[in-house]
């Protein structure tokens, strides 16, 4: 598959390209970025002497079969729609767009032009995802009582610009940008979140800390769920499902493991499930999945419609936003 990349900033160079060069099915033929330093670094760091370089997406015509869109979220919809209209299949980075309305336009464009549109929610490719789904749906932990999901660590992501923070280019921070992975995983497991209450620590800029509470409908019952997101401190970084007989938990940093705690004969026991062998690179699995969908004209693992569900939760949360209490900030002596 001849692949063009739109946006050669940090996520492309740190995450995508190391995976793409491992794949026998991918040939990176075009690099597009308005910042020439970014394309030059991508070419140099990943030894892509034959890849062409441009600042304009239209130059891809006739030279690529598919494209990865890794530009700031504000440009996801216009760039993706332009590529789809050119007859190019697209893997668009998360969050799919700034709004569900934009995401719908993208999905409609893909349908209209008969193209594949996949979304880069790579934690869906963690090895423990499907086993975890089976475990939480199994009587093993009993009736689900609560779902807790957290994503947080001190921001360490390498940034080549202020794009992460610039509200002209993105919608939010720890919740919108990194938190979308977690919201997507919860929605993928249990469906939509209702009765949303949301608070964050923004004072006009992008949030560093956020909390969401809501309800999931599991087996016809309302189950409370709470999610926390942080760019300033460590949280437990995973999903914990609390059942009447036990607890099942997955962690982002250990995508090969699942921990189950269950009371057996009145005594709590911890059961661990762990895959053998080195964990596969989820970015590699993601691009291989996309390449398969392109080749077979099939459905990618994460479609625009699927990505829209988590974006809808984020959208409703922002609409219900209340300021987070931060007495250490607000105090004015």
């Amino acid at each position: 598959m001849r692949l063009g990349i739109v946006g050669c900033g940090a996520v492309t160079r740190e995450m995508h390209l190391p995976a793409f060069i491992q794949s026998p099915n991918i040939e990176v033929t075009y690099l597009c970025d308005r910042v020439t330093k970014n394309t030059a670094l991508a070419k140099e760091e990943y030894v892509l002497p034959d890849a062409r370089v441009t600042a304009e997406v239209k130059d891809f015509a006739g030279h690529v079969d598919a494209a990865v869109v890794a530009v700031p979220p504000k440009f996801h919809a216009p760039v993706t729609c332009e590529l789809l209209a050119m007859g190019i299949d697209v893997l668009c980075e998360k969050p799919i767009a700034l709004s569900t309305a934009e995401a719908r336009l993208m999905s409609d464009a893909a349908r209209k032009h008969g193209r594949i549109l996949a979304v880069g929610l790579m934690t869906r490719f963690h090895r423990n995802t499907e086993v975890f789904r089976r475990i939480v749906n199994d009587p093993l932990i009993g009736e689900i009582q609560e779902v807790i999901a957290e994503a947080g660590s001190v921001m360490g992501w390498i940034m080549t610009s202020d794009a992460y923070f610039n509200k002209k280019l993105t919608l939010g921070g720890a919740f919108f940008d990194s938190g979308v992975h977690l919201v997507d995983r919860v929605v993928d497991l249990f469906g939509d979140v209702s009765d949303i209450a949301y608070e964050d620590d923004s004072f006009g800029g992008v949030e560093c800390n956020a909390n969401l509470t809501g309800k999931l409908t599991i087996a016809g019952r309302n189950v409370p769920c709470r999610m926390s997101f942080s760019w300033t401190h460590a949280l437990f970084n995973g999903i914990r499902v609390i059942g009447s007989n036990g607890t099942a938990e997955v962690k982002y940093l250990d995508p090969d493991a699942i921990a189950v705690t269950r009371t057996v004969g009145g005594e709590p026991l911890e059961l661990g499930v762990r895959y053998q062998g080195a964990a596969p690179n989820p970015y590699l699995l993601q691009i291989e999945d996309f390449a398969r969908a392109v080749r077979t004209r099939g459905t990618p693992k994460v479609t625009a419609e699927a990505a829209m569900l988590s974006l809808a939760v984020i959208e409703r949360a922002y609409a219900a936003r209340t300021p987070m209490k931060q007495p250490w900030v607000e105090v004015n002596r």
């Binding site: 923070f165 509200k167 800029g205 992008v206 300033t232 401190h233 250490w328 900030v329 002596r333």
Partner: protein, 387 residues
Amino acid sequence: MTPSKILLTGATGFIGTRLCERLKLHWRLPYRALVRNYTHATRIARLDTEMIPGDLGKVDTILKALEGCDTLVHLAHGEDHLAPKETANVIAAALHAKVKRFVHISSMSVHGSNPGPESCREATAPIVRRDESTYVVSKAKEELLVRRAIERDGLPAIILRPTVVYGPYGGFVLAAIQQAKGGVIGLLDEGKWVCNAVMVDDVCSAIHAAITADKGVGQAFFVNSDKAITWREWNLTFAEMLGQPVQTVNFDTAELRAYWAKQRPTLKSNLTAAAKLVVSPDLHRQFGKIPAVKSAIVWAKETAKARMGEEKVLAFKAKMSPRPRASTGPGVPMPNPSRIRLEAFPIAFSNDLLKQTLGWKPAYDFQAGAEVTRQWLEFARLIPPNA
């Protein structure tokens, strides 16, 4: 004066971030942050701070950042060996841009690691030229550059010398919590020495006073709370926030100083270290990956064994193997020289001059500042809730 816009260097650091919060939320003054590394800018990003990329090693980037600003607050202090040159660049840019106010954030450290009683007040406190700490020397050089620019070039600067700054996200607080998590904390001479703890909010209000006041230009001021505490009080206050029993272990400062003095590099210690490296199995393993070098190592070992005999080789090996350092207490690392400089500090700095000249006064005593810090520690999950 009322600034038209304030440029901050070091805006993503501990004091800088809190200053951005207070400028935006409390004083509603326009400011811009010069940012070298956006990764550290998350907390100021939530304020929708105007950020401009810059490098204090390049005067042109500082000049660009200064466009439209008439006030500069210089908080940045990066690598000790680079900081004086960077401060010289900031001064040059400020003079070129003709700023109306330059606030330089110096440090109590400019009076050295072990100052005498004359350093309690600004009028008699000498700035050191030499010290065992590279930070002290670097900060002193920076302040001297600012003073020279005041005297020679008429830079309208006010110098602030904060003491031990603490509060939410503060490094000294994190170190205290980290130490106490082990259940045992080390105290120097029972923790009797002076801790000049000042709450970060009080440092910010001193900066605000320095920006807006019509007095004090050309002067230097200590920024300290009204009452110094002891390091015992400091360490135990934060340790108790963990809600678990904490043991204390005492270290004799004189003995510690003597110990570390012996560790200073000499010709003998350099030769010993080099010899240890040459005979170290780790080095042999690494170099042994090169077949030719591996053969040479094997040959050298066999030759040494043949000439010295097995017993002498074993004795030599034992001498060269790293030996565990004698234990100094249950589970407490021996305080290093930088901690000794901090926690065996002899004097309390007066804040009278700052109060009298700029009309500033600290809003926090240690108990009040620690309580605000505790709320944040709980939020950041560094201490248990309701401990």
